[in-house]
Structures are given as C-alpha cells and as structure tokens.
Amino acid sequence: MEHTPNHMVEIIDVSKTYTQGKLEVHALAGISLALDRGEFTALAGPSGSGKTTLLNLIGGLDSPSCGRIVLDGKEVTGLSQSRLADMRLNKIGFVFQAYNIIPVLSARENVEYVMLMQGVPAKERTDRARAILDEVGLANMHDRRPAELSGGQQQRVAVARAIVSRPAIVLADEPTANLDSATGQGLLEMMAKMNEKRGVTFIFSTHDKMVMEYARRIVRLKDGLVSDDTTK
C-alpha cells in the first residue's frame, strides 16, 4: 500500500494480542487498511471480530502489539500518554456505546468541557456549544443533566461533544446498540448530515444492519482479519 497524504487513517500491518489468564487472544491478526478524508465507514463483524480493538487503536486508547498507525499524516504508535491525550483532544472525537457523558455536567457543559481543554475562550465556547446542540436537535435541553435525558438524547450530546472540537475523525463504537431502531435511525441521519455538511470523517463499529445501510463503505472483520471491503 503506497503512502499518500490524502489518507486520513493508515493502518499498516497491525496486530494486537491480549493475554486472558494463560490464554493468548489474537484480537487483530495483521490488518492493513486505509481510510480517506470525509469517509463514512462502518466496521462490521460479529462480536469478538476485533472492531472495538481497532477503533481503540486508531483513537490511541490502546497501542498495537506490532504494526503502525498513521493518523492525518502523523505516526501515532509510540507516543507518550500526554501526547496521545492531546491528539485525542484535537484530532479525534469519540462516541461510545454507553454514551459515557459526564453525569455531573449539563448537556451544554459536557460539550463546553472539551473546548475548555482546548483553550477556546469562554464566549466562543458557549456560542459554539449552543449552536452544535441546536444542530443535533437538542434545542431546548441545553441545561439538562444526563439523568434528565433519554438514551438517544444522551447519545446526541455525545455526538455534539465529539464534533464540537473540530476533529479530523469521529470514532463511534456501536453508537446505536443501546437505542431502539427509530431513535438509532434519527441519530444516524443526524451523523450523515454532519458528514456531508462538515466533511467530518466517521468510522463506526457495528453489527446493526441499519447502520450499514447508511455507510458508504463497509469493512467486514472476521477473526481479526479483513474479510470484505465494499464501497457503495
């Protein structure tokens, strides 16, 4: 695979091995993959196929056993913890299956917190947070705490939080798994809109048929290897 700067993410011969007790589990067994700017890609496959591991590796939450990962033209492998933290802050947005928004902060504060860490001035923070929350369809719920929001609404906050930092790529780990299909569809439509309007690169991991319908490229994983790669 040639090295072109147009690739958003380059995964070069990456494998990941966990030890569970005495057992060695090969979560990824030497994957190579390139994702382009502005893609809306789904990583599909049964559970245990290595989807989440791959997302965690791309996001710098975990480091590969061997192989390299290049993000936006920059080598990720081997960075220090705080470098990785900075990279996640500025280049990556995360959306988790279990929402994972900070329970003690309101919707707006959750969104603002990322910008606070980026050093965005207070006024701009508030304005951008309001705008993005309106955009994800939470116009009247800026000041609600997570406990006062439904699962779908919480996930919208999580998407708003992931996008507001203007990342190069948003990694979403089974974002619809905890939602009913109607809510999940709404969320997906919203994300697809973001992808078109803002050109944000999205990568999902999923085994949800509906998500795959929305995706423009589907990469199927099986036993830690790419079994199929289809672009619509």
């Binding site: 939450l61 933290a85 900075d86 990556i92 947005g93 994972n100 902060l105 860490m117 980026q118």
Partner: protein, 410 residues
Amino acid sequence: MELLMAWRNVWRNPRRTILTILAIAFACILLVFMLSLQIGMYEVMINTAVKTRTGHMQVLADGYNQDHKIRKVISDPEAVARILDDTPHITGYTFRANGFALLSSDQRTYGGLITGVDPVSEPRISNIKSIIRKGRFLSPSDTNSAVIGSLLAKRLKIDLGDELVVLGSARDGAIAATVLTVAGIFSSGMDDYDRSAIQIPLAHFQEVFAMEGTVHEAVITCDSLWNVGSAQTAISKAVAGLEQKRRLTCLSWDELTPGLVQSIQMDLGGGLIFYGILLIMVAFSIMNTFLMAVFERTREFGTLMAIGARPGRLTTMLVYESAFLTLCGIGLGIGAGCLLTLWAQHAGIPMGDAEGMLRQYGIPGLIRPKLTLATALAGPAVVFLITMLTALYPAVKVHRIIPVDAMRAA
C-alpha cells in the same frame, strides 16, 4: 469548570459526603476544644504561680534560687530599685526577704517559712490581699504583725490576735527571735503553701533576722508575659554591672519554677501524642471515601481521558473535590468547636473528684478553656494538611488509569 465539577461530584453521594465531613468536623471540634482547654489551664497555672509566689521575674543573688540560704542577699536594694524604675515594660516591683524559723503557739510548734514583705508594694505584685480569708493584710504601721497560712494556723491552733513565738537563725548566725500577733489568715488553695507560709513586715523581718537593710528577692511584674524576655535581658545586663557583695541575676518565672514548665511540656507532649493518634484514625476513616470516589468513577475518568483530558487535569479535579470536602468539614468543625469552647469558657467545667488535686496546681474548681485565634486554627490547619495528604494518594493514582481498561470496567 473543574471547580464546578468538583463541587457537584462532592454532592453526588450526599450520605457519604456528610459522614466524611462529620468525621473531619469531629476532629476539628475536639482539637479546638482540647487545645483551648489546655492553654486555658496552663495560663491559670502560670498566673497563679506568678501571682502567689514568683512574679514575672525576680532579681536574686546568684545561687539563692538553688538553696535559699539566708546569707545570699541583695546587699543594696536601692540600686536595684533605681534600675527597675528605668526599665521599660515593668509595671511594679517589691522586695522580699525569707527566713526559715520554728513557730510556736501555746500548744504547738511547727517549722515555717517567714517572708518579710513590704505592706505597701506587696499587694500590687501578688494576690495576697485577695486571698486573706480572715482579718486583714499588713499595714505600713504594723511592726510585729503577721498574716499566716490557714493550714498553718489550724496546725498551730491559733486565730486572729493570738501570739506566735518565732525562733530561727539570723543572717549573722545569731538566734533570731520575736513574738508576732496574727493579723490575718490567708488561703491560696495550694496546701503546701498554706501549710508553711507566714508574712510579716519587711522592716521587722530585717530587724529580727539581722538583715541590715538587705533583702533576698526583688519581685517584678511586667505589662505582659510576652515582654518578660526582653525586660529580663535588660535587667540582667544592668544588675550584673552593680557593685554588690554578691553577683545578682535576674530569673524569669519559668526559670524560678522549672517543675511548672516541665509539667506543662509533659502535659502538652502527652496531648500531642493523643491528637496525633486521633488524626491518624480520622485519616484512615476518610481515606476510603476518597479512594472510592476514584474507583467507582473509573469509567468516567476513562471517558474524560478518551476525549482528551490529560491525567494532570483529573488529579486537579480530585484535589479540588477533597479540598471542598475538607474545607466544609473544617469550617463546620471550627464553628462548632468555637461555640462549644465559648460555652465551656462561660460555664466552666466542674472537675469533681479531681478538684482538690487540681487546686494544688493553682487551678480553681471550674476549669475554663480559653479560645484564642491560635487554638481555634492550629488544630484544624493540621487536619487540613493530613486530609489533603490522604486525598493525594487516590488523586495521584488516577494517573495509572488506562482508558481502555477503565471503559471496560463497571
């Protein structure tokens, strides 16, 4: 934002937070009260010693304090008086002379310590006038009148107006003998003193004991305990330069009663050990709260790290949380501790059985703590330090959290 998060986090589990705050407050209340109590007691002990016997300072012949030998005198009291008149911070002074003698009434004979005092200046220095229980204190016109300790009077079986034969040895080694009339009976509450002390006019003492105008002690009071040190230095320097038969020294109250100072140190030392243990107990008591606050939120910390928070930021937040918790506890503790102390200061604490014993140290029936800025804040300050140190452990441990594992947890 971190402050806000910390504050909200503190109140996520109100029950636990309140228990922790109460534990911290409890330690503070106890420390404020106990320290005030100890300081209050020490002050009374020192004041009693200063007022009944020693004064703030004394000028003495070198060595007199060790053995109280009658020959170790200040040969020229006038010269000492001139120095004292010129020394700042001195509020008053009086001269005394002491001699040991055999005291005989009609029926009984006991040994006693006779002190010659100046009827005019003595009441300004000591509390003798206020502890007279019967009769009156000496007046300038008295010659062979005496005021006598209540227990000594009881032992000698004498009362006001009775006569008392004194037999001792004078400064020149000759026999010192006189007959005294009891003018007053005093009671300080300190049995040892009341059992042996007797005071007569200084002039009469000098005559009977062949003192030839000399005295043993110049007893001095200062405007405050804090100025004793500087005044002592000044007086020491001045009296050392005097032309006297014996070298003179100036001793402060703590040098005059080393037992008192050491006993205070001992009591304070014992107290400090107790407080130390108490603080360790409180530290362990609340450590679980801090630890749990981190561990049950591992997932949340994982998320924060995933969205780009550096570990240092998490530590800061946790330190804020502990600080809030601690400050609440300390605030409550200082408040309640001060109230309790002020109430006890007002009402006094009865000591029951131990009253008689405490009276011997000059502590009256009711113990009153004394609240000062130092006693109100010293204990809580240490509590703050200890709790923050305790909280630091989990706050630093948060660095070891690995986001992937953290998110998988819970």
